[in-house]
C-alpha cells in the first residue's frame, strides 16, 4: 500500500528542533523550530492527515533567535518551550523561554488559503527562564505526567528546576544543582523519567549519564563512560522504570538498567556516524528510533529487553479460545532483536527524531537541511505486535 511510503516536508531553513505536540492525543502534530542567523526564525506546526496522507502546516514566527531545542507542554497544547540563540555583538547566548501559540492554531489546522501571503503569526512570550547566572541553555524538559507547571532546564553545568506560576507567566527557580569537576562540564541533554512519580531526571554530560532526584536535586546514579565519546541523547523506557537508552558519538545506542550501571544491557551499533537522537515508542517500548549524522534513521525492534519480551500479552477476554491459543503459541517462539528498517530519505545529518504523541505507529525525523520526513512502522510488524 502506498500509505507506507514516507511523507516529506521541506523547510526553507536549517533545522534541528523537533517535538510532537505532547498534549495532543488525537491529531498527529509536530512542531519544528528552524535555525537561521539572517532571517526571522519560525516554528512550523505540522499537521499530518493520516487518512489522506496530506501535510498541513502553520508557521509561527519566533523572532527571538535560532531554535536549538523545542519541547511542548504535556498539559497545554498551546504552550511550548524553546532554547534559542541570542546573538548580541560578538556574544552568543543560548536562552530559554516558554511560549504560547495563538489559540486558533492550538488544535486546528484549518489552514487558511492565504497562509503563504498572510503575515505569519507570532508566539506570545509567557515567561523567560532567566539564565544570566547559569550560562547557555541546552534543553528544556517538561514534567511528563504533570500539569505543565514544572520544567527542568539544563544550562551549562547547572540543572535548574522551575515552577511556572500564574498560568505560566512567571517562572520561579525552585531548586538547582550543578556539576562540579575539572574541565568544562556541560550538559548536552536530559530527560524526565515518567516513572517514580516523576521524581527522576536523567542527564547526559560528556561521556557520563547521571540520574537526579528532583525532590532534593541530588544525584541518584551515575554511569561513567556510558559511551566512548560524547553522549548525545537519552530516553526512558516508558514501560520499564529502570530502563533507559542512550546514544552518542561512538555511533552506538546503549540500553541501561539503572540498577546496574557497570554494563549496558544491550548495545546497538548500526549507525555509521554519531547518533544524535534516540526515542522509545510511547506504547510499544520494543520500538526504538534513532537518528544519526550518517543521514539515516533506524527503527529497531528491541524485543528481548522490552516490557513485552514474549510478544503482546493477550488479555482481552472476548478473543475466542482459538485465537488465544494461537497467540500463546506465537508468544512461545523466541523473538529476536533486529533492525526493522533503515530510512534513507534524508540527505543531511538527522539531528532529531520523535514519535507522534497521537499515533504510536508514526514518527517524524528532521535533518539539518530542513527536511522533515514522516514515516510509519511497517504494517506487518504492526500487526505482529498487535495480534
Amino acid at each position: 500500500m502506498e500509505d507506507d511510503a514516507p511523507v516529506i516536508y521541506g523547510l526553507e531553513f536549517q533545522a534541528r528542533a523537533l517535538t510532537p505536540q505532547t498534549a495532543e492525543t488525537d491529531a498527529i502534530r509536530f512542531l519544528v523550530g528552524t535555525q537561521s542567523l539572517k532571517y526571522d526564525n519560525q516554528i512550523h506546526i505540522i499537521d499530518f492527515d493520516d487518512e489522506n496522507n496530506i501535510i498541513n502546516k502553520n508557521v509561527l514566527l519566533h523572532q527571538a533567535g535560532e531554535i536549538w531545542h523545542i519541547s511542548a507542554s504535556p498539559a497545554d497544547k498551546g504552550v511550548l518551550a524553546t532554547c534559542y540563540n541570542r546573538t548580541s555583538d560578538s556574544k552568543v547566548l543560548t536562552c530559554a523561554a516558554v511560549w504560547r501559540m495563538p489559540k486558533e492554531l492550538e488544535s486546528g489546522s484549518h489552514e487558511s488559503p492565504d497562509d503563504s501571503s498572510s503575515t505569519a503569526q507570532t508566539l506570545e512570550l509567557l515567561c523567560h527562564l532567566d539564565n544570566t547566572a547559569h550560562g547557555n541553555m541546552a534543553c528544556v524538559v517538561w514534567e511528563p505526567m504533570g500539569d505543565g507547571k514544572k520544567i527542568i532546564s539544563l544550562a551549562d553545568n547547572h540543572i535548574l528546576l522551575w515552577d511556572l506560576q500564574e498560568s505560566s507567566s512567571q517562572a520561579v527557580l525552585a531548586s538547582s544543582a550543578s556539576l562540579e569537576g575539572k574541565g568544562q562540564l556541560r550538559f548536552t541533554s536530559g530527560r524526565w523519567s515518567p516513572h517514580h512519580n516523576c521524581t527522576q531526571v536523567a542527564t547526559a554530560s560528556d561521556t557520563t549519564l547521571r540520574g537526579w532526584d528532583t525532590r532534593n536535586m541530588s544525584q541518584i546514579y551515575c554511569i561513567e563512560n556510558a559511551h566512548g565519546q560524547l553522549v548525545r541523547d537519552l530516553d526512558f523506557n516508558p514501560n520499564k522504570q529502570y530502563y533507559l537508552a542512550s546514544c552518542g558519538d561512538d555511533c552506538k545506542v546503549k540500553f541501561w538498567d539503572t540498577r546496574n550501571v557497570t554494563e549496558p544491557v544491550k548495545t546497538l551499533e548500526e549507525h555509521s556516524h554519531w547518533v544524535w537522537n534516540v526515542r522509545y515508542n510511547h506504547s510499544h517500548d520494543q520500538l526504538v528510533l534513532t537518528g544519526s549524522s550518517d543521514s539515516r534513521v533506524i527503527l529497531s525492534n528491541m524485543v528481548s529487553i522490552s516490557s513485552e519480551p514474549f510478544g503482546h500479552l493477550v488479555d482481552d477476554d472476548d478473543i475466542s479460545d482459538q485465537e488465544d491459543h494461537r497467540s500463546e503459541e506465537k508468544s512461545k517462539e523466541p523473538l529476536q532483536d533486529n533492525v526493522i528498517a533503515t530510512y534513507e530519505e534524508h540527505e543531511d545529518s538527522v539531528y532529531a527524531v520523535d514519535w507522534s504523541s497521537a499515533d504510536p505507529w508514526l514518527f517524524a525525523s528532521l535533518s539539518y537541511d530542513g527536511r522533515l520526513v514522516i514515516n510509519r512502522v511497517p504494517r506487518a510488524l504492526k500487526y505482529h505486535i498487535l495480534l
Partner: protein, 782 residues
C-alpha cells in the same frame, strides 16, 4: 577287441595290460580298458564312460560289447554301409584279427616258462611237508609227557605256596601298620624339621586308611594323634602364612599345602588376598610417600618405574599365584580376584594420576611420554591376566586423559606465548624513542611476533607428536590413531589456538577503555597485519604441517582451512577498522577541541593557518608512514600529479566562492541550501565509519573521512563572525593542500571540506569570504 576277450574271463587275469596293436594310441586304449573294467566291476558307468561315444554295453552290434552278435552286426553292416565302407571295414577287421592273433601268441610265449617253474616248486613242497608231519607227531608226544610231570609237581607244591602268599600279605599289612603307628612321630619330626611338604604327603597317604578303620580303638588313637599333629601343622602353616614376611612364592607354597590338608579353599583365598592386599598396600604407601609434598619428588619416569615394578609386578605375582592355586574355585574365585585387582588398581591409578597432575605444569613432554609408555606397558601384563578387572582399559583411559590435558596445556602455553609476544610488542612500542634513533620498525616487530608464534606452534606440535610415536606402546590405540590427531591436535590445539588468537586480537577492538585507547594503535595495526598474514599463508601452512605430521585417519569433520581463514580475515578487518576509528578519533578530538574552544565571533582576521591544522597534517603523515610500514599502497583514483593538484585547488576555492556567494546577496534565503542539496544529489553518500580495505590508502581515507566529518559537525554547532568564517576557509584550504595525497579519491576531501566551509558560511551572520588568492598566499606561507 582285446578288452572284449577279457570281459568274460576271471577278475584275476590282467585285462588290457598286455601290449596291444601298436596302431592304437596308448592313452586312449588305456582309458577304454579302464572303462571296461569299471563296467565289469559295476562301477558307475558315467565315470568311466566319459567319452561321448560311450558304447551301450547291451548293443549287439558293439564289437567290444558283451552281447556282441556277429549276425546282427553283419546284417547291420550290410544294410547300412555302402560298398566302399564295407570293403574298408573288412580290411580293418582282418587287420585287427591279425593283431589279436599275434598278441595271443606273445602272451603264450611269455608265460610258458613261469608255468614250468611253478610246477617244479609245487612238487618240492609236497616232499618237505611229508617230513614235517613226522616231526610234529613226535613233538606232540613229548608235550604230553611234560604236561603230565608238571601237573604232578603242582599238586605237590600247592600247599606250601598258599602259605607263602598269606605270609607275604601279612608282611605287607604289618609294614603298613608300622607306618601308621609311626605316623604321629614322623609327622612330629617333619613338623619339627620344617619339612611341611613331607608331612602333608604322609598325612595324605594315611588319611584314607585311618578314615576307614576308625572304628577300631587302636587306629582311632592313631587317627586322633594324627589329627592333633595335623592341626598343629596346619596352625604352623597358617602362622607362617600370616607372618607373611617370607615373600609371595613361599606363601603360595603354604597355601598349596594348606589346600592339600583340606582346609576350606574359600577361607584360604580370602586370607591369601588379604595378605596380598597388605603387601600391595605397602607398595602403594611407598608410592604415596614419594608423591608426598615434602620430599623432593622423583621425576615422573622414576615414579612410574617404581609403581610398575613394585605394585604392578606384585599384582602380577599375586594374580598368577591365585590363578594357579584357586583355579578350582571357578568363576566366583576369578570374580573375587578381579574385584581385588580392580580396587587396588583404582587406588594405584589415583596415585599415578596425582603424580601426573603434578607433571602437568612441566614443559618436558618426552619424559612424560616415556613415563606413560612404561606405565601403559607394565599394565598390559596384568591386563591380560585379569581381563575382567579392566586395568588395561583404565590405564589407556588415563593415558588418554593425560594426553588430552597435555593438549590443553600446550594450547594454554601457546596462548600465553602469544600474549607474551603482545606484551613485548607493547613494550617495544612504548619504549621511549632515543632521539634520532628509531626503535625496531613495525615490520621487524611483526616478523618477530610471527616467527616466534610459529616456532612455538612447531615446538608444541613436536611435543605432542611424541604421543603418536611408533615405539610408544599406546600409540596404536584407536584414540591416538584417530581422535587424538584430528580432534585433539588439529582441532583442539591448532585450530583452537588460531581461534583464540583471533579472539584475543578482536578483544582489543571492543575493550572498554575505548576513549583513552588502552591499546596502542600501532599494536592494532600490527595485529591486523598478523591476522591478514595468517589468512593468506600461515594458517594453511600450519594445518598442512599438522596434517602431515599426524596422518589423520579419523573421519570426523574438521574445520576447513577456508573457515579459519575467513575468521582470520574478519579479525584483521575488524582490527584495521578499529585502528581507523582510534586514529580518526585522535584527530577528531583535536579538531573538535579547536572548534569548540575558540570564540569564533570575535576572532581576528586570519593571518595564519591555525597550528591545529598543521598538527593534523603532521599526524596524518605520521599515520601514513606507520601504515605504510605494514600495508601496501593500494589504489587511488588517478589524477594526481603535482601540477594537477595545484590547478585543482585553485579551481576548488573559486568554486567555493561561487557556491556561497549568493548567500550574502540577501535575495533568496534558500539558495545555499538549494545549491548544496543539488550537489549532494549528484555526489554519493559518504559512509563515514565504513569498513576499510587492506591497504594504506583505504586506511588513510577512513581516518580523514572521520576527521573531516567531525569538523563539519562541530562547525555546525558554532556561530561564526566574518573573520571566523575566513579562518575556517584558510584552514580548509590548508587541509586540502595536504590531505589529498593520502586518500583514494581526492574528490572526497574536496566535498567534505567544501561542506565545512559552506556550513561555516551558513553559521555566519555576516559571511564575507576571503579572496581565494589571499587564502592561497596565507596557506603557502604557513
Amino acid at each position: 577287441m582285446a578288452a572284449a576277450a577279457t570281459a568274460g574271463s576271471s577278475p584275476g587275469s590282467g585285462p588290457g595290460d598286455s601290449p596291444e596293436g601298436p596302431e592304437a594310441e596308448a592313452p586312449e586304449r588305456r582309458r577304454k580298458a579302464h572303462g571296461m573294467l569299471k563296467l565289469y566291476y559295476g562301477l558307475s558307468e558315467g565315470e568311466g564312460a566319459g567319452r561321448p561315444s560311450g558304447p551301450d554295453p547291451l548293443d549287439p552290434t558293439d564289437l567290444n560289447g558283451a552281447h556282441f552278435d556277429p549276425e546282427v552286426y553283419l546284417d547291420k553292416l550290410r544294410r547300412e554301409c555302402p560298398l566302399a565302407q564295407l570293403m574298408d571295414s573288412e580290411t580293418d577287421m582282418v587287420r585287427q584279427i591279425r593283431a589279436l592273433d599275434s598278441d595271443m601268441q606273445t602272451l603264450v610265449y611269455e608265460n610258458y616258462n613261469k608255468f614250468i617253474s611253478a610246477t617244479d616248486t609245487i612238487r618240492k613242497m609236497k616232499n618237505d611237508f611229508r617230513k614235517m608231519e613226522d616231526e610234529m607227531d613226535r613233538l606232540a608226544t613229548n608235550m604230553a609227557v611234560i604236561t603230565d610231570f608238571s601237573a604232578r609237581i603242582s599238586a605237590t607244591l600247592q600247599d606250601r605256596h598258599e602259605r607263602i602268599t598269606k605270609l607275604a600279605g601279612v608282611h605287607a599289612l604289618l609294614r603298613k601298620l608300622q607306618f601308621l603307628f609311626e605316623l604321629p612321630s614322623r609327622l612330629t619330626k617333619c613338623v619339627e624339621l620344617g619339612a611341611y611338604g613331607q608331612a602333608v604327603r604322609y598325612q595324605g597317604r594315611a588319611q584314607a586308611v585311618l578314615q576307614q578303620y576308625q572304628h577300631l580303638p587302636s587306629f582311632r588313637a592313631i587317627q586322633d594323634d594324627c589329627q592333633v599333629i595335623t592341626a598343629r601343622l596346619a596352625q604352623q602353616l597358617r602362622q607362617r602364612f600370616r607372618e607373611g614376611g617370607s615373600g609371595a612364592p613361599e606363601q603360595a607354597e603354604c597355601v598349596e599345602l594348606l589346600l592339600a590338608l583340606g582346609e576350606p579353599a574359600e577361607e584360604l583365598c580370602e586370607e591369601f588376598l588379604v595378605h596380598a592386599r597388605g603387601r600391595l598396600e605397602e607398595e602403594l604407601r611407598s608410592l604415596e610417600a614419594e608423591l608426598g609434598p615434602s620430599p623432593p619428588a622423583p621425576d615422573v619416569l622414576e615414579f612410574t618405574d617404581h609403581g610398575g615394578s613394585g605394585f604392578v609386578g606384585g599384582l602380577c605375582h599375586v594374580a598368577a599365584a591365585y590363578q594357579e592355586l584357586f583355579a578350582a574355585q571357578g568363576p566366583a574365585g576369578a570374580e573375587k580376584l578381579a574385584a581385588f585387582a580392580q580396587e587396588l588398581g583404582s587406588r594405584y591409578f589415583a596415585l599415578v594420576e596425582r603424580r601426573l597432575a603434578q607433571e602437568q605444569g612441566g614443559g618436558d613432554n618426552s619424559l612424560l611420554v616415556r613415563a606413560l609408555d612404561r606405565f601403559h606397558r607394565r599394565l598390559r601384563a596384568p591386563g591380560a591376566l585379569l581381563a575382567a578387572a579392566g586395568l588395561a582399559d583404565a590405564a589407556t583411559e588415563i593415558v588418554e586423559r593425560v594426553a588430552r590435558e597435555r593438549l590443553g596445556h600446550h594450547l594454554q602455553g601457546l596462548q600465553a606465548a602469544f600474549l607474551g609476544c603482545l606484551t613485548d610488542v607493547r613494550q617495544a612500542l612504548a619504549a621511549p624513542r632515543v632521539a634520532g634513533k628509531e626503535g625496531p620498525g613495525l615490520a621487524e616487530l611483526l616478523a618477530n611476533v610471527a616467527s616466534s608464534i610459529l616456532s612455538h606452534i612447531k615446538a608444541s606440535l613436536a611435543a605432542v607428536h611424541l604421543f603418536t610415536a611408533k615405539e610408544v606402546s599406546f600409540s596404536n590405540k584407536p584414540y591416538f590413531r584417530g581422535e587424538f590427531c584430528s580432534q585433539g591436535v588439529r582441532e583442539g590445539l591448532i585450530v583452537g589456538f588460531v581461534r583464540s588468537m583471533c579472539q584475543t586480537a578482536q578483544s582489543f577492538c571492543d575493550s572498554p577503555g575505548e576513549k583513552g585507547g588502552a591499546t596502542p594503535p600501532a599494536l592494532l595495526l600490527l595485529l591486523s597485519r598478523l591476522c591478514l598474514d595468517y589468512e593468506t599463508a600461515t594458517i594453511s601452512y600450519i594445518l598442512t604441517l599438522t596434517d602431515e605430521q599426524f596422518l589423520v585417519q579419523d573421519q570426523s569433520p574438521v574445520t576447513p582451512v577456508s573457515t579459519l581463514c575467513a575468521e582470520a580475515r574478519e579479525t584483521a578487518r575488524r582490527l584495521l577498522t578499529h585502528y581507523v576509528k582510534v586514529q580518526g578519533l585522535v584527530i577528531s578530538q583535536m579538531l573538535r577541541k579547536s572548534v569548540e574552544t575558540r570564540d569564533w565571533l570575535s576572532t581576528l582576521e586570519p593571518r595564519n593557518v591555525r597550528a591545529v591544522m598543521k598538527r593534523v597534517v603532521e599526524d596524518t603523515t605520521a599515520i601514513d608512514v606507520q601504515v605504510g610500514l605494514l600495508y601496501e599502497e593500494g589504489v587511488r583514483k588517478a589524477q594526481s600529479s603535482d601540477s594537477s593538484k595545484r590547478t585543482f585547488s585553485v579551481y576548488s576555492s573559486s568554486r567555493q566562492q561561487g557556491r556561497y556567494a549568493p548567500s550574502y546577496t540577501p535575495s533568496a534565503p534558500m539558495d545555499t541550501n538549494l545549491l548544496s542539496n543539488i550537489q549532494k544529489l549528484f555526489s554519493e553518500r559518504i559512509d563515514v565509519f565504513s569498513p576499510v580495505e587492506f591497504n594504506k590508502v583505504s586506511v588513510l581515507t577512513g581516518i580523514i573521512k572521520i576527521s573531516l566529518k567531525t569538523l563539519l559537525e562541530c562547525v555546525r554547532l558554532r556561530t561564526f563572525g566574518r573573520f571566523g568564517l575566513q579562518q575556517v576557509q584558510v584552514d580548509c584550504h590548508f587541509l586540502q593542500l595536504y590531505l589529498w595525497r593520502f586518500v583514494a579519491d581526492e574528490e572526497l576531501v574536496h566535498l567534505l571540506l567544501d561542506e565545512v566551509v559552506a556550513s561555516a558560511a551558513l553559521r555566519c551572520p555576516d559571511p564575507v569570504p576571503m579572496e581565494p588568492s589571499v587564502v592561497e598566499v596565507i596557506c603557502e606561507r604557513g
